[in-house]
């Protein structure tokens, strides 16, 4: 499985990671070599095998409908890079 530069650029955008243009080519090479190595899985016949849902042999626990949390704005905003008036802020979004 060989990835080209455009594919890597597209994946990097999906993952919102800036990759400089000159680094796309070597990165494509690295990712391709990993994918080539992973390709060995295809030789295994897995027809009819259920995909693993979880190794935890238990049922999903459920919580009571009680308000036990929140009301901690200071804690929530404490580490924010640019909070204002109780809000987080980001560069202006134009819809």
């Amino acid at each position: 499985m060989s990835l080209d530069k455009d594919t890597v650029k597209n994946i990097a955008y999906l993952a919102r990671i800036r990759v400089d243009d000159e680094k796309l080519e070597p990165l494509a090479g690295e990712l391709s070599s990993i994918l080539d190595w992973i390709e060995q899985l295809q030789e295994l016949d897995t027809d009819g095998v259920p995909p693993m849902a979880s190794v935890a042999a238990m049922k999903l626990p459920q919580r009571k409908d009680v308000v036990t949390d929140g009301n901690c704005r200071d804690a929530v905003l404490k580490n924010a890079p640019d909070p204002e008036d109780g809000f987080y802020t980001v560069p202006k979004v134009v819809e």
Binding site: L3, T7, V8, I11, A12, Y13, L14, A15, R16, I17, R18, V19, L27, E30, L31, S33, I34, L35, W37, I38, Q40, L41, Q42, L44, T46, V49, P50, P51, M52, S54, V55, A56, A57, M58, L60, P61, R63, C72, A75, V76, L77, K78, N79, A80, P81, D82, Y88, V90, P91, K92, V93
Partner: protein, 494 residues
């Protein structure tokens, strides 16, 4: 009297009980060792004030005759993947610059209520992604051990990873014990490289709440200690059902230390033939054979077992873990905490922050995971890997019909020199060839130091147990430990 920094958890507890030294003295000795060992870069953040305060609290409890926890007064290192209230928590990543959690992870809180004393936050591979502790934004950790012979003699060696700082701290006498986390071998492999005991419990045994996630279906916290008994004591202090983690097993915590009866007569030990890989280092093979003989001599029944899908485990892991990490690490976006690199638009800010904030290996895994989940490739990669994962788990299920514990090497090599294997990611991934299958199956595994390589470096043997049967696993590991009588110390003065 033994040097304070040579003490095990058991030895420390006994000494404290006998008033041979105070918890404050014990903490102070380790703080000094931590400072003296800074060249190893085992800690990202040292917390001597916290350590001394908690040590004094422990001394007060002891003086007043208050109830004591299972690790009361024992100084430990905390892998910097556990969120600690009011203490910088980094995951060894630039992207978490300045992040001080307003909360404490369940495991570190459990340890604190057991009286353990936190010395500092141990270095690790960035977001626990790595097998050599060379991907940390805060620089690589050095192994306290040096090769006495061979091509790496005298060179700085890696401690293994991702819990490399934890392993180096314990091995180097800077902490009595440490927490680690293991996703594909991150406790066991560095334990093997540094000559200590590392236990990855059954998935669900220790809460993941407050532990910075790498791959949620695999991540599991565990103890890194000097002895098997210590691992049993510390696991008891870490484990327990946590309603805040939906995958935490609603099971009582047994007295693990009580399981170390020393008696393993009749225990059935499985030797998986698929772990006998082509080109296996004869040293590793010899150590493994030695382990078999020790257990046989202790009265165990040795049986061959087959884990036929072993050879696909690494490839499976390198789909599942990156896929999960690609989503788990999406929250590091420069909005609510950590690093923000400004940008003209929201997307710009995201891309700048994540481009600069994540190191190369983390980026590589996020990209592989993103690709494996993307439209058109999901079935071929992610679903395929989860199917193979089922087969791997079934292999173990079948094997454990016949045996109680499985014995394998922990890692295919001893510690290697800093700078090696950095260019080739796949070569690096092969470090985890023996540990990854256990992780995929969610089973408990432990690495016990069992001997030295010709170059004078520690080598570990791995034992794998049934889900939630850490007691039998520890009992067998204890037998290996007794037989190996591994009492070597790293060359450097701790």
């Amino acid at each position: 009297m033994t040097k304070l920094t040579d003490l095990t958890i058991r030895g420390a507890l006994d000494g404290l009980a006998a008033k041979e030294f105070s918890a404050a003295e014990l903490a102070e000795a380790h703080i000094q060792a931590m400072e003296a060992g800074r060249d190893l870069n085992a800690f990202i953040t040292e917390t001597p004030e916290i350590a001394l305060e908690r040590a004094r609290e422990s001394d007060n409890r002891r003086a007043k005759g208050d109830a004591l926890g299972a690790m009361d007064g024992v100084p430990i290192a905390m892998k910097d993947l556990f969120c600690t209230e009011g203490v910088l928590t980094t995951a060894a990543s630039h992207i978490l610059d300045g992040f001080t959690p307003p909360y404490e992870s369940t495991v570190s809180a459990n340890l604190r209520s057991a009286g353990a004393v936190m010395l500092g936050k141990a270095n690790l591979d960035e977001f626990a992604m790595g097998s050599a502790n060379i991907t940390s934004y805060y620089g690589p950790v050095k192994n306290p051990w040096k090769a006495t012979d061979g091509k790496d003699a005298g060179k700085d060696l890696v401690p293994g990873g991702s819990s490399g700082g934890s392993a180096a701290a314990v091995s180097g006498g800077m902490a009595v014990a440490a927490t680690g986390t293991d996703t594909g071998g991150s406790i066991r492999q560095p334990a093997s490289f540094c000559g200590i005991v590392g236990l990855k419990p059954t998935y669900g045994r220790c809460s993941r709440w407050g532990v910075i996630a790498f791959a949620s279906s695999l991540d599991q916290a565990g103890p890194m200690t000097k002895t098997v008994e210590d691992a049993a004591i510390m696991l008891g202090a870490m484990a327990g059902h946590d309603p805040k983690d939906s995958t935490s097993a609603p099971m009582a915590v047994p007295d693990f230390a009580a399981a170390l009866s020393g008696d393993v007569k009749g225990l059935k030990i499985g030797i998986p033939k698929e772990y006998r890989m082509d080109g296996m280092d004869p040293e590793i093979q010899a150590l493994w054979d030695q382990g078999v003989n020790w257990l046989k001599a202790a009265g165990c029944e040795i049986k061959d077992v087959s884990l036929p899908h072993t050879k696909y485990a690494l490839a499976t892991y390198y789909i599942v873990a990156p896929a999960e990490c690609s989503a788990n690490l999406a929250r590091y976006d420069g909005v609510r905490y950590g690093l923000r690199i400004p940008g003209d638009s929201l997307d710009d800010m995201y891309m700048n922050t994540r481009g600069e904030g994540f190191g190369h290996e983390v980026q590589r895994r996020i990209l592989i995971g993103t690709y494996a989940l993307s439209s058109g490739y999901y079935d071929a990669y992610y679903i395929k890997a989860q199917k193979v994962r089922t087969l791997i788990a079934n292999d173990f299920k079948a094997a454990f019909e016949d045996v109680d514990v499985i014995l394998t090497p922990t890692a295919p090599t001893p510690a290697f020199a800093l700078g090696e294997k950095q260019e080739d990611p796949v070569a690096m991934y092969l470090n985890d060839v023996f540990t990854v299958p256990t992780s995929l199956a969610g089973l408990p595994g432990i690495s016990v130091p069992a001997g030295l390589s010709k170059s004078g470096l520690p080598l570990g043997l791995q034992l794998i147990g049934r889900a939630f049967d850490e007691e039998t696993l520890l009992r067998a590991a204890h037998a290996v430990e007794l037989a190996a009588a591994f009492n070597h110390k790293p060359g450097r003065e701790g």
